[in-house]
Symmetry: C2
Subunit: 203 residues, 2 copies
DNA sequence: TTGTATTTTAAACAAATGATTAAAATATTC
DNA sequence: GAATATTTTAATCATTTGTTTAAAATACAA
């Protein structure tokens, strides 16, 4: 129950390949990933990848759509909850989303990179209108009709997501270690609602 | 003097290859770029790429370091200017940086992707300590010693850069067109200083 | 146990890819 | 204008890469 990695030897071959592919694709991106890398990571014969998933591209699509679901799936319900106030939505969102990204720190940069390098392939799968036209956005508009509400949405997203995007570059430069990063993100959960609130009050 | 693209036929072969490589690398990333793509884009024989630049990797490094210089070069001087106040630094930075990124919208995501997929290769070239230990950060610390100043630096960076990172995903989803994006970014130049100021005052 | 279906393996293939070579074309020098 | 140096070209090479194949191993059903 405790060791996830060791338990993986008990997974079915199909699941072993998929889990290995997730790790390799997330680390190197689609283009730099070799099917042989995945086979080696999974500890299986190369041909099994095609046996179970037909092609590198089909395997990638499968994983990519799961990651897109993870990245966008949790957002829309919070931002469209008709039972919460603007302030509650902001608090819930920053807290939940920072938790999600703490569990999956490479998720944002992975998705943004792959979508950018292949926009037409994933465009139709992005439920962005549910975010851009969300109840939260309407609530913001009510409070500050003088400023385009997209600004505040962008700030809320950015303050939650951007640190995870900058993380590798800060780490590569030796400025940030894992532990302090995590405590900063914990601090952010309570700071972001305050900041958004202050921004909404500026004249 | 007016048409940059047409003038390119007058460039030297070496310059033609470099300009073409910039476009292709920026669009597809290092791993997905074929030397043949670059040769075709430049309108030159494939062998000339190796004749002038030795290898795909050396050509990429050349371009990458130029892009890193562009992405980081303008930041440190503004944030370390001993003649400006905190407020002035924030205003100068957001305005100048949004202008820079408006001219080079793909710059942030390109750099962040490539550094992430190859951290050890570029880590030593990143002048991040000049930003993380800048005068601005010290000025922020003076004003709000109760909150880690990195938070405000991250917010300043994020509010300026993050929209450019999200741009492709918003465009792919058909939510944002070029024109409205540009006017939002113009608005941001004056809004960001107000927001940062408001954030620095929260209790 | 025998026969059948499923899974796994080693080998190989065809296409793509980064790079090189040797000759041809062009420019430069004296 | 001949000799030399530089640049460009077409062809080719050696690897890499995604995928397939046919046989071997294993699991399953009767």
């Amino acid at each position: 129950m405790a060791k996830k990695k060791l338990a993986e030897v008990d997974l079915s071959t199909e699941e072993k390949i998929k889990e290995a592919a997730k790790r390799v694709f997330m680390k190197k991106g689609y283009a730099a990933t070799r099917t042989r890398d995945i086979a080696e990571e999974a500890g299986i014969n190369l041909a099994l990848l095609n046996y179970y998933f037909r092609s590198k591209e089909k395997l990638f699509d499968l994983i990519m759509f799961e990651k897109l679901e993870k990245f966008f799936g949790a957002v829309a319900p919070i931002l469209n909850n008709s039972a919460t106030t603007l302030e509650q939505k902001v608090t819930l969102f920053s807290s939940n989303y920072i938790d999600l990204l703490t569990e999956n720190p490479e998720l944002p940069l992975f998705i943004l990179s792959e979508v950018r390098y292949n926009p037409e392939r994933f465009a139709h799968k992005l439920p962005l209108s549910k975010i851009a036209d969300s109840l939260l956005v309407r609530q913001i508009h009510e409070k500050r009709p003088d400023i385009n509400p997209l600004h505040f949405l962008m700030n809320l997203l950015g303050m939650s997501v951007f640190p995870f995007i900058m993380k590798p570059i800060f780490q590569a430069a030796g400025i940030l270690n894992e532990k302090t990063f995590l405590s900063r993100m914990e601090e952010r959960k309570v700071l972001i609602p305050k900041w958004i609130n202050a921004m909404l009050k500026t004249r």
